[in-house]
């Protein structure tokens, strides 16, 4: 759930250590640019270990919360009951 892994080209020393920092296999290597990129951005947990551990402080994690799949926190029936209750309240208030 990141938009990107921003890598500061001025700072990156191409040491490839960041390939090992990530525990969910998000980070891949861009052979042309010789720097890391977010290969599987959906699996980023925003733990910020890659930012923190990069020896050159070259990485910035750019989150994108909207990319994550959010399962509902109430069952469909309960959610419908609450919506109905709220609509009823509004109707009464309108009257």
């Amino acid at each position: 759930m990141i938009r990107e892994l921003n890598v500061d080209q001025q700072k990156c020393i191409h040491c490839r250590q960041c390939l090992d920092f990530c525990y969910t296999n998000v980070i891949g290597w861009d052979e042309t640019k010789e720097q890391p990129f977010a290969q599987y951005p959906l699996d980023c947990q925003l733990c910020c270990v890659c930012e923190d551990a990069c020896p050159a402080h070259a990485i910035t994690v750019i989150p994108d919360w909207s990319r994550k799949y959010y399962p509902d926190y109430l069952s469909a029936k309960s959610a419908a009951a609450i919506r109905e209750m709220a609509a009823e309240k509004e109707r009464r208030a309108g009257k």
């Binding site: 090992d20 525990y23 923190d52 799949y69």
Partner: protein
Amino acid sequence: MSAENKRPRKSQCSHVLIIGGGISGLTAALTIKETDPAADVLLVDKACASKGWAGKAARTAGLLSFVSQEKDPEEFARYCAGADIGCGLNDMALLRDFAYNSRRLVEHLADWDVDIERNEDGSMAVGVWPLPWVTAGVDPDMCRKMSSRAKKYGVLFEDHVVISELIVLEGRVRGAVGFHLLDGTYQIYLADVVILACGSQNFDITPSWCSTGVSQKLAYDAGCRFRNVEFCGMGDFGRFGQDGQRYYGQHSGAHTAHDCLYVGEENISQKWRPGFHSSMDPMAAYAWYRETMAGNGPVEVHYQKFRDESGALFHFHPNAMRRMHRVESLAEYPYEHEQYEVFPGFISEMSAIRVGHGMETDIPGLLAIGDTSGAGSARAGAVPAPPAKIHGTGILNALYSGDKGGSTAVLLLHGIKRTGEQPPAELLDRLEESTYHYFDREEGISPRDVICRVQDAMAPCDYSFVKTKERMEEALGIILEAKEMLPRMKAENLHELSKCLDAQAMVLCGEMFYRASLARTESRSFHLREDYPEMDASWKKWLNIRKNGEEMEIFTEEIPNI
């Protein structure tokens, strides 16, 4: 795959194979080498364990709870077995052993160069709870120190390898197979003892709680029993941001707010769940659920009240503080005087492989430690473990069970007659086929579709926290729908092949959770049923689950009277 087009294979032998290199796997490796330096230990992880970046350790808050010299281990055991927590379903012998050994294990960390926050006089800086334990702040990068010590001891590492199947021959575990996540090589590991240390099942809903329960699938397929599955529904509160965006877990600013939820000016946590609670439980979700269903919402947290009223006592290590602050800033964490709406967030900690006092499973030669078996050991009773309602016992459990499992592995090694017999080639070919078949096929659905469907069945709080027969059957129906999707999965790449394995494990764990929860017709601690609201003395026994052919067999186990 045709014979001439065979994918690369790599085969290795060791005395002990450890699957998973987080705190528990590394503790087991170090314990084995400290007890028997001649033992060959190979540690395999899908992340990079050789440099200490695998597992959850570096992502924790680094809280480490234990029974200090001033506290009483017996009181700790009584507290953990009491109402709202273990509720009589604890293995008391194991629990007391855990309590008595906790300080030794924490002190031993210094021998591995692991840093713990200290006072100026060199004593450990701890938060002292009005409860029978204290909480220290350990360096979340502890695995870096542990892995470097393990390498000095001669432990061998294989990084970026996903284990997909155990090799079981004539009822005994003989190793495991998997694939290299970066180059696709088929990896074969033969060993006399195999230790599962590959984490719990979190259903990958709340960020950072991203374990996918492959440990549970490996053990289930091998024929192991499971225990206390129905209590493994851990939860927390998430927060709605200004834009309606949902923030979960550490990022939420509601993560530990279970004692101070408000409707208007009324503290509803205290209304439904009076007193001071060391951690979240389903009653906290129940308070939210009842008020919301009565049309009284929104349920909110007032940041300042939360800070003032929360009784939590934490001491963080600077490395943990720095990371947490960064994580908070990324999630626009709320600041002073703000108030925000919250919702129940599902975490789960399914760690239900049934183990005995030496962390041995039912399968000879197979041990299970750390987050694979915290609940299944029954040490913690009717709670998900970790955290078993005590922050900082996840790390402690990983140390404790790693130490136990490491010692058992050494005992087993000395008692085993090695035959040198290789597993039959057909078996290894069959395991290769089952490891790669989602990858080798032409088309199919994405494993993420299956995972999302399982998440739909787990996350609703009125399915997994506040249970009824009717709602659980509905949730189980969704899981079975996801199960039907499994054979149609297709992995586009090796990362997705790993996701296919995750999807299978999630379906299995979801099914176990709801089948066990339906079977237990009472409420007890973390198992809260609206249709059976009382605790029933005749249910003071464990539920076990085991694979029986294609069926999931459920049966009870009496608790020994100690």
